[in-house]
């Protein structure tokens, strides 16, 4: 069906190794530092870098990412500034994925958002409060700007929806590991393997697992299960604490192999 595979598709497909995707918040801990951090993360060997667009009401996020977003907003971070950050980072190494709630995209105008993101070299967009039923017109504008739109599958997604979500996704499919919001968890849920398996049955796209993943053991347990693991809150918490997030990223990368 798809003539060529996208940058994200190539970057995230496991080739024996598990791939690592890391998430950071644009403008956190402040604008200048977040550019530095983003560049270093993009060059660190991760398969893709997710950059969060801060929102005042992030419904799918736990306290760590909520706080990072609020800090970014307090520092005057805007959608335009996020796109500016993306353009500074997109040439460095790993492809850039923007993660934005739907309202900032609507306020920016979806058509202009898609064009600006493409111009900035962004590879794809994830909208955590935009299920497939509400994807238009945002998804069409993203598609016409040659950007991937990544939809999510959750543990509560009925089997008959999984196919439809895979069908609408491009780049990769995001498998939400747990029933809940973002944030570090001790253990990954037992049903994760089955969930990823049932997504795999329905798509050739890479499958990335995300939410709750933070430790070397988690990475090991995902090897041979998912194509990629997304680590968010653990990285953001390190950035928030003034620690170098690359220490954790290097450790996690080692566990991929």
């Amino acid at each position: 069906m798809r003539a060529t595979s996208s940058r994200l598709e190539k970057a995230l497909k496991a080739d024996g190794d598990l791939k690592l995707v890391v998430y950071m918040m644009a403008g956190h801990p402040n604008r200048k530092k977040s550019v530095e951090i983003a560049k270093r993360l993009a060059a660190s060997g991760v398969a893709a870098l997710e950059i969060g667009v801060p929102h005042s009401d992030p419904l799918a996020d736990g306290p760590v990412i909520q706080k990072a977003g609020q800090t970014a907003l307090d520092h005057g971070m805007t959608v335009d500034a996020c796109l500016g950050l993306a353009s500074e980072v997109s040439g460095v190494g790993a492809p850039v994925v923007l993660m934005s709630y739907v309202n900032p995209i609507l306020a920016h105008d979806p058509r202009r958002f898609a064009a600006d993101a493409a111009q900035a070299g962004v590879a794809g967009v994830i909208v955590p409060d935009m299920p497939i039923e509400e994807a238009e017109p945002v998804a069409s504008w993203l598609r016409s700007a040659s950007l991937d739109t990544i939809f999510m599958v959750a543990p509560t997604t009925a089997p008959n929806r999984i196919g439809a979500i895979c069908e609408r996704s491009s780049g990769f499919v995001y498998c939400v590991t747990l029933t809940g919001i973002t944030g570090v968890r001790k253990e990954l849920p037992a049903g994760l393997k089955d969930l990823v398996g049932s997504v795999r049955e329905r798509t050739e796209l890479p499958v990335a697992a995300g939410f709750g993943i933070s430790r070397v053991e988690h990475m090991k347990s995902l090897r041979g299960v998912a194509d990629a693991a997304v680590v968010g809150s653990a990285v953001v918490a390190d950035i928030d604490a003034g620690k170098d997030p690359l220490l954790l990223v290097k450790e996690l990368l080692k566990a991929c192999r």
Binding site: H55, S56, D57, L59, A60, G62, Q66, Q70, L73, T78, V79, Y101, V102, N103, P104, I105, L106, A107, H108, P128, D129, M130, P131, E133, E134, F151, M152, V153, A154, P155, T156, T157, A158, R161, I165, V176, T179, G180, I181
Partner: protein, 391 residues
């Protein structure tokens, strides 16, 4: 006109929620359509409405207010006489029965004024369900009496210290709880907001207000009122009142929003009068936001109206011009609270006091023959501190 197509009222509504909730919303929608058509469920609901809520609530002729405003006839639909003191129980009761039908043992809710929280805590006690209510610390301060009521009803009140510490952030926290505990928990949203099917479900449960009032009014006066007025926070008492009158084209419908310090001042909560369409808490409707789609802080003396969004059906009724929306300031609402208390011996909540002020404006326009019906959505004991400390 009021039946949403795939969860929409014109362009408004929808289900902008994390994928995790889509299954639960579908289940809720299916279950509600089933329950609505089930005579057994309707019978049970009617029984509880009568014996537990105290329905039908009376229609009251506020003659002294009418005289004061120049001779118009003003009728109040007395939702303040519902058990627990506001219309909120109509919704909480119906949704608790749905939770029982779904086999869910835990209820969660958000609350601003505390009236919805108290209503949910009350039905949780009545039906033996576990209950957690999210409330902003700013609202816990200004509506402390309702916090105490909820605690006595054995509900856990969780403080919300994020953002504006009011209804918006309490709603976000309740939704996060639901995302996490969706398998065991039913979320009773407090107004006609949130993702589909909530705006429709809450309207169906609140329309009893207008259905009763229309019949009572016809019986008392032989014809329909010239105007029907209600306050609009999320918009549940207003939709509850308006639904019965939507097809009565000669009846003017007016929704009154919280004007705070004045819409021009920027310190208000009038999303329909001063906002633009966008997505908040899972629905596409008018809301108060900046140019970047970030939700802006609101202000109102009344905690129950202090919300930056509004139900999607109101957005549709605004754009189709079936309902007119206006804003009334804190100052005028507090004055109307005092006036109604002194002239009628009825202490209204601050929320419907906004509508009471506008009833006065309208009554003066209409003159002595004017006929106005107003939804007195709740009683004002909870607001005594706010009114006394208002300067």
């Amino acid at each position: 006109m009021s039946h949403p197509v795939r969860g929409r009222f014109g362009p408004f509504g929808g289900q902008y929620v994390p994928e995790t909730l889509m299954g639960a919303l579908e289940e809720l929608e299916g279950l509600w359509h089933e329950a609505k058509a089930d005579p057994q469920f309707q019978l049970e609901l009617a029984g509880h409405r009568h014996a537990f809520v105290g329905r039908p609530t009376p229609l009251y002729a506020a003659t002294r207010l009418g005289e004061h405003f120049g001779g118009a006839h003003i009728h109040l639909k007395r939702e303040d006489l519902c058990h627990t003191g506001a219309h909120k129980l109509n919704n909480a009761l119906g949704q608790a029965l749905l939770a029982l039908r779904m086999g869910k043992k835990r209820l969660i809710a958000e609350t601003g004024a505390g009236q919805h929280g108290v209503a949910v805590a009350t039905v949780a006690a009545r039906f033996g369900l576990e209950c957690t209510v999210y409330m902003g610390t700013e609202d816990m301060r200004r509506q402390s009496m309702n916090v105490r009521r909820m605690k006595l009803l054995n509900t856990e009140v969780r403080e919300v210290t994020n953002g504006t510490r009011t209804l918006k952030d309490a709603t976000s926290e309740a939704i996060r709880d639901w995302v996490t505990n969706v398998g065991t928990t039913h979320y009773i949203i407090g107004s006609v907001v949130g993702p589909h099917p909530y705006p429709e479900l809450v309207r169906d449960l609140q329309r009893v207000i207008g259905d009763e009032a229309r019949e009572q009014y016809l019986q008392a006066d032989g014809k329909l009122p010239d105007a029907v007025i209600a306050c609009v926070g999320g918009g549940s008492n207003a939709i509850g009142m308006f639904t019965a009158f939507l097809e009565d084209r000669d009846v003017t419908l007016i929704g009154v929003e919280a004007g705070g310090s004045g819409v021009k001042s920027g310190k208000h909560a009038a999303s329909l009068v001063g906002g633009r369409p966008g997505v908040l808490h899972g629905t596409y409707s008018y809301l108060l936001q900046d140019g970047d789609g970030q939700i802006t802080p609101t202000h109102s003396v009344s905690a129950g109206l202090d919300y930056p969004g509004v139900g999607p059906e109101h957005a549709f009724l605004r754009d189709t011009e079936r309902v007119e929306y206006v804003a009334v300031t804190d100052k005028d609402a507090v004055a109307a609270f005092k006036l109604c208390t002194r002239l009628e011996g009825i202490m209204p909540a601050l929320e419907p006091s906004h509508a009471l002020h506008h009833a006065g404006v309208l009554a003066r326009q209409f003159g002595p023959g004017g006929r106005i019906l107003l939804c007195l959505s709740g009683r004002g004991d909870k607001d005594m501190d706010s009114v006394e400390s208002y300067e």
